[in-house]
Amino acid sequence: MKIKEWLSRLPLWLYGCMLLPLLAFGLSKQVVSYFSFSDIPRIWTDEAMKDWELPNSNPEYSAQPVSEEFYYNLPERVIYKTYPVYHPDHEPEGYWEWLHELEAEIVLDESKLLTEEDYIKAGELLFDYPIDTLGAVISTKHVRNIDFYTATEMPLTPEGIMPFAQWVVAGKGKVYLGNLSCAMCHTRVMDDGSLLKGAQGNWPGDKAFAFALETDGASERAIQNITSFLFASPFAEGDPHGKLLATGKEAILEAYRAVPEGAFGRQGTSILFPPQAPNLIGVKDRKYLDHGGLGQHRNIEDMMRYISMNQALDFLNFYGDYNPIGLTKERLNSGEPIFFPGTYDRHSDAQLYALAKYIYSLSPPENPNKPSELSESGKIIFAEQGCVTCHTPPLFTNNKLTPTDGFEVPDAHYDKYDIFGISVGTDPGYTMKTRRGTGYYKVPSLLGLWYRGPFLHDASLANLEDLFDPARLKDDYVPTAFKPHDVKTKAVKGHEFGMELNEMDKKALIAYLLTL
């Protein structure tokens, strides 16, 4: 009785104070960390898709994506458990047979995703998950052939795992090689054999594809067709891909083989102007996606759109009246499924959300290059040489788009996009002559240079030293990484900064760059 009386005499504010720990540790945690499905944005709306991407450098041929109705009528992907692919000499005994005894196991249940951590974990699963089992790039017989690894100089982990593809078990005895995961292009086998997820990958994809086409005995016509699906841009001035197709089977295969690891001719780009595989670590802070800045990145919805579009749905785009896989608009919208890798199903919005959350969570490994006296003097050179104007700390990019030579910036773009109004003179091919070309290149971030390479948007230089070598500007230069298949030498022009520095200053500058 006495206690009750005593309690009733306590002032009201004291009761209020008793609630504070709850607010701090209980309620707030629930509010911050838990999601509901209503939080997941619907990303593919007709309204949002209208101006999310930048126009093509030839605006009449800007991409027209599939409609919201078409998109959401595609079935959602079921995510099965996947298993690593070993080099045949490293495969554990009985592994292949064991895989064939397994039942399919569905590993992602969206209804169980509640916290941010749940989404990130699911996102990692999805990052590694192949969206194709039809053999879009390579198939079972290739990865079980020892010659495949030699011909492509395939990077492997110390366990002998080839981390760019996975085995998908879709049922007992149904073991398929899975292609086209995010991990395929964005995983790097480091020098010590460790895997760095999200980094500029070192998957020798085009060499692998050339091996597959060659060993499968693909006909010239078949090789021309698939190459056309992937890269044709007949509306581009000079139609360089049309010319490549006309050169015949051997030349096309050579073009594939010429693309080095660290670059990849994904659909809509080019093996004539191959894009460097982008580093996803730190992508959260970048305002444009793709080397040409094709996709705006204003929020997580934009990242989700980019993932969905880039995994293969851009095969269904129309560029003017042109569709890369030969569809007509009537056929596209007939309601009949289109059996082309990656286009007959889609990730759910929740899956895309998880993927984006995972990609945003990627962080760089510890940099072994610690600041030194040399790198500190390089830091001063970095500022003196004006590098900071474009590669502005702390992101080491100003997040802007630079027009390439030959592209005149439309006035309206200055208000709509982040334009840095001069060209640095690098090769205009990618952004002027491909389906993804916008007329711009985005200013790349220099973060993580120490674990990346080759460099420049077309992966033409293997080392940072090459970037500051004036010899690269001459026509008799042999590019140290990507060199087009049909030339012996080629000048690597543009970005002519720091070339007049003395050797010591160059060393210092590079030492600094490697600390970023």
Binding site: A383, V388, T389, I419, G421, I422, E496
Partner: protein
């Protein structure tokens, strides 16, 4: 590069010259202007121009305009070498004195050619639309022996702002040497945007 300072600054002469050209055309087409009219026009032009030429002559100073701006903690030195100034300055008649200058931002040099090119672009000087920077005195006051403060109107990218510029004058015979220093906020004139590394303040030194 000749920026045609006189054509622009000495407006009465400029407009009359245009008028004259138009009238000559007229003469060519119709033949209605006689010798007396021509003489009258030429005489008028002469008397209009001469006082200007005598009182204030435009000249190109030897020293470029210098500026300094901090970029990532490093001071970047820049020059604008193509400029002209017109001076009519008498320390004893400050109210009647004037100083006018015009500079061509295309001649900017910062030591990195591509940076200079960027400065020409629409994010900075936008030289296609705004080919000149101008500075025009509004009033002067003395601040001690050979030291003055001028109120000037500085126009960059079409933005006009008044600013106070302290300057010194050293005079040897008829030879006058001026030196002034001032600071502007580049963002006031739409020169670039707010930056994490590039300072807003630009220190300018003018000597002629």
């Amino acid at each position: 590069m000749d920026i045609g300072y006189l054509d622009i600054v000495v407006a009465p002469w400029g407009s009359l010259r245009k008028c004259c050209v138009r009238r000559e055309n007229f003469n060519y087409l119709s033949g209605k202007i006689d010798f007396r009219s021509r003489l009258l026009i030429l005489t008028l032009i002469f008397f209009l121009i001469v006082p200007f030429l005598l009182s204030a002559q435009s000249f190109k100073p030897e020293n470029p305009i210098q500026f300094k701006i901090k970029n990532a903690g490093i001071t970047v030195d820049g020059l604008i070498s193509d400029w002209e100034v017109m001076v009519d300055f008498d320390p004893k008649k400050l109210t009647q004195s004037s100083i006018r200058g015009k500079a061509n931002p295309e001649s900017i040099q910062t030591g990195i050619k591509l940076r200079d090119k960027h400065l020409h672009g629409r994010e900075y000087f936008h030289i296609e639309k705004f080919p000149f920077i101008s500075l025009e005195s509004k009033s002067f006051r003395s601040k001690g022996k050979n030291a003055f403060i001028g109120i000037f109107e500085l126009q960059i990218r079409g933005v006009k702002r008044e600013l106070e510029i302290p300057f010194t004058l050293s005079q040897t015979g008829k030879q006058q040497m001026f030196k002034g220093e001032f600071t502007i906020d580049r963002l006031d004139y739409g020169l670039g945007e707010k930056s994490l590394v590039l300072s807003d303040e630009v220190r300018v030194v003018v000597e002629f």
